[in-house]
Symmetry: C2
Subunit: 188 residues, 2 copies
């Protein structure tokens, strides 16, 4: 078995959500596992001096249109949640507390399909409960683990969502999945 | 004949250069003309609060790697020029003075293949002369025309390079050419 694919994303990132539908079928085709690694885009924005797309003149309006069109293009159910974006610290902690990929998918679906505000800890816990999971979001060890994961992502140069690293090669954006797929078959 | 495709790009943009190789074959497939519309990314950066990719922490290093990999992926000859990026005011004026798409292609090739610094007016004039063209880069009417074109692009929301508008629908990035191609066949 070849090394796993590291799949970084923020729970509030539309392109990360779209990528979450594509990464596992892609990995399966080439016989790889996927390591889901939610991170906090806010921390990356501090490093790059950027900010959430909707806050950026011109680019923000384009992005809202592009989210919807990209979802149609990739044939993934999507609505732009309200509020958007939201803090994803609770979602991130819940994931690292449980290490359950089903929870990651359920949280993304709650936010981007059912318009559940996963910025609120209560809603994160409800989504977790629907899977029989009870993460303790206030556990210091979980807080530390989450921070360590986010710091490690930044240290690897992860500045956006989605961001994939395979055998040391970085791919930013669901729009690099065509290059990622070719690379997985044969580095070029 | 359907309306032309508006193809916006900055002469110093690697992704714009890659797109310049793909836009005409794509347009030909769907029976459209291409209107080449060089713009000045610096003006767009002022609007979006952004800057040249190499200047951005984390993203800059990624971008340099991605330029090269994307060029291999799209099978387009490319080297990262030095200096990079450069001011493209002279290149832009030369294009609008001549309205000659051959000159646009020659300037892009000079910069991204032959490492000619097209930030310098003399080099722009040499490239033009190789095609028998003698644009007057100091002509006030050409300066005004160039400024008007750049302002018009910004007014249409063009904030990056390449940026394509077809029938009112905007596509940013050579990595949206897959969506652009589908859209040209049938809006979705």
């Amino acid at each position: 078995m070849k090394p796993p694919i590291d799949f970084y994303f923020d729970f509030s990132s539309p392109y990360g959500y779209l990528a979450s539908h594509k990464i596992e079928p892609l990995a399966a085709k080439v016989g790889r596992e996927v390591r889901w690694r939610p991170m906090l885009l806010g921390a990356a924005f501090k490093a790059t001096g950027s900010g959430p797309l909707p806050s950026i003149p011109l680019k923000g309006d384009y992005a809202k249109r592009d989210f919807l069109r990209s979802a149609r293009f990739h044939d993934v159910p999507f609505r732009l949640p309200d509020p958007f974006p939201v803090s994803t610290v609770s979602a991130c902690r819940a994931f690292y507390a449980t290490q359950d990929v089903r929870l990651a998918k359920a949280l993304l679906r709650a936010y981007f399909v059912d318009n559940v505000n996963i910025g609120e800890a209560d809603n994160v816990l409800k989504v977790a409960a629907s899977l029989g999971l009870k993460p303790d979001l206030n556990d210091q060890a979980i807080k530390d683990r989450t921070r360590a994961e986010v710091d490690a992502a930044l240290a690897k140069g992860v500045f956006g969502s989605p961001y994939v690293i395979v055998d040391g090669e970085p791919f930013w954006g669901v729009d690099r999945f065509d290059q990622l797929e070719r690379w997985l078959r044969e580095p070029f």
